[in-house]
């Protein structure tokens, strides 16, 4: 569910279809820079109610989803 929502948010931002975004897609390959990623993190806060801190290891869609899920599990 988190993966679907994150894909949807990215697709919306990038003007792509959610199907074109895979779990192992790298943000850099999707054309996102650090400012775009910061914006994504702020949006995930609204969408999932968790605060994801910027972290250099969050380079893929899957890593972000995993991070959100683990933060949601902690709540």
């Amino acid at each position: 569910m988190v993966l679907e929502k994150v894909k949807e948010m990215l697709a919306d931002k990038l003007g792509m279809s959610p199907d074109e975004i895979t779990e192992d897609a790298k943000f850099v390959d999707l054309g996102l820079d650090s400012l775009d990623i910061a914006e994504m993190l702020m949006n995930t806060e609204d969408a999932f109610g968790v605060s994801v801190e910027p972290d250099a290891s969050l380079t893929t869609v899957g890593a972000l989803v995993e991070k959100i899920e683990s933060l949601m599990g902690d709540q």
């Binding site: 919306d12 990038l14 003007g15 792509m16 054309g31 400012l35 775009d36 914006e39």
Partner: protein
């Protein structure tokens, strides 16, 4: 009310020009802006004189107020549209993408007020020398074809360099931006992005939606690598593919110049905002509501007046 030499020169209620946006600024949008007291502007874009004549007739059927025509000097039809504005007795012309020096004397002789869009002090001085009535100093916050300077840095330097009035453009969409522009020395503003979402703007709804959904960091520039073709628009698959090709080692300046062909029309007319070019300025992130041009003008100018009225509160 804001009293400005630009308003007096053209008989406007508000010293606000609506930017001439190719494929977007037609007779209907221009008439709506002019009817509400600003200066509406029809884009002559790359079209033949026949298109311009139709749009002028359309505007005249909707308003008796003055409006202008934007002439892109690189248009293959520039010679004929330069004559059309004289024949049609259009009161104002703005120019972009080149030096207007060659045409200014003809237009002046016909009583047309001329406003070149400039992106540097040198271009502003050349425009003044050629007889321009004022210049529009446009910063790179703008959508579409842009220079390198920002509005904040460009406007005061142009104001210092010329003795004709200066309008500011680029990054202005509300009363705050307009008040700031006046503080920088401008005596009017031009807005494009804000009018993209005017009710009377006929650009495709998909395009409007992209502007309404944009955030502060949604725009990107393409065509910077070889200069002369820098264009600002909203990031989408088109800009990503453009930038990928632009920075490939074997890509030439000519390749880049051809990359954008037909892309604006695809987005603005056909509504293909994936493979089309959605040109808009950096201020798109602040443009959140579609409303009639008259409401836009009123909101921006009343906001500006309120802020300027409070300006003295800073000084103790």
């Amino acid at each position: 009310m804001i009293d400005s030499p630009i308003s007096r020169m053209l008989g406007l209620r508000y010293p606000v020009f609506q930017g001439g946006m190719a494929w977007i600024s037609d007779g209907r949008l221009a008439a709506a802006v002019s009817e509400a007291g600003g200066l509406g502007i029809i884009s002559a874009m790359n079209a033949e004189a026949g298109y311009l004549k139709e749009q002028i007739a359309l505007a005249r059927s909707l308003t008796d107020k003055p409006f202008g025509v934007n002439i892109m000097l690189m248009s293959p039809h520039v010679e004929e549209v330069a004559k059309t504005v004289i024949e049609e007795k259009v009161p104002a012309v703005t120019t972009g993408a080149g030096s207007a020096g060659k045409y200014i004397p003809l237009w002046k002789e016909a009583g047309i007020r001329v406003f070149p869009v400039v992106a540097s002090v040198a271009s502003a001085k050349m425009a003044e020398r050629a007889g321009a009535d004022a210049v529009i100093a446009e910063g790179q916050e703008s959508g579409g074809h842009i220079g390198e300077m920002t509005t904040m840095a460009l406007v005061p330097q142009v104001c210092d360099a010329v003795s004709i009035p200066v309008l500011a453009a680029g990054g202005i969409a509300d009363g705050r931006g307009m008040a700031a522009a006046l503080m920088l020395g401008a005596c009017g503003v031009q807005m494009g992005t804000r009018f993209l979402v005017a009710t009377e703007c006929g650009v495709h709804q998909n395009y409007k939606d992209m502007v309404l959904r944009a955030t502060d960091i949604s725009t990107v520039t393409t065509g910077r690598r070889f200069g002369g073709n820098t264009c600002r628009g909203i990031k989408n698959p088109f800009t990503r593919e453009f930038l990928r090709v632009e920075y490939e080692p074997t890509t030439t300046a000519e390749d880049v110049a051809n990359l954008g062909a037909g892309a604006l029309r695809r987005a603005a007319v056909m509504g293909d905002v994936k493979t089309g070019s959605v040109l808009a300025g950096q201020i798109a992130g602040m443009v959140k509501e579609e409303m009639p041009a008259a409401d836009i003008l009123r909101e921006v100018c009343e906001g500006c007046e309120a802020l300027l009225g409070k300006g003295s509160s800073w000084v103790k």
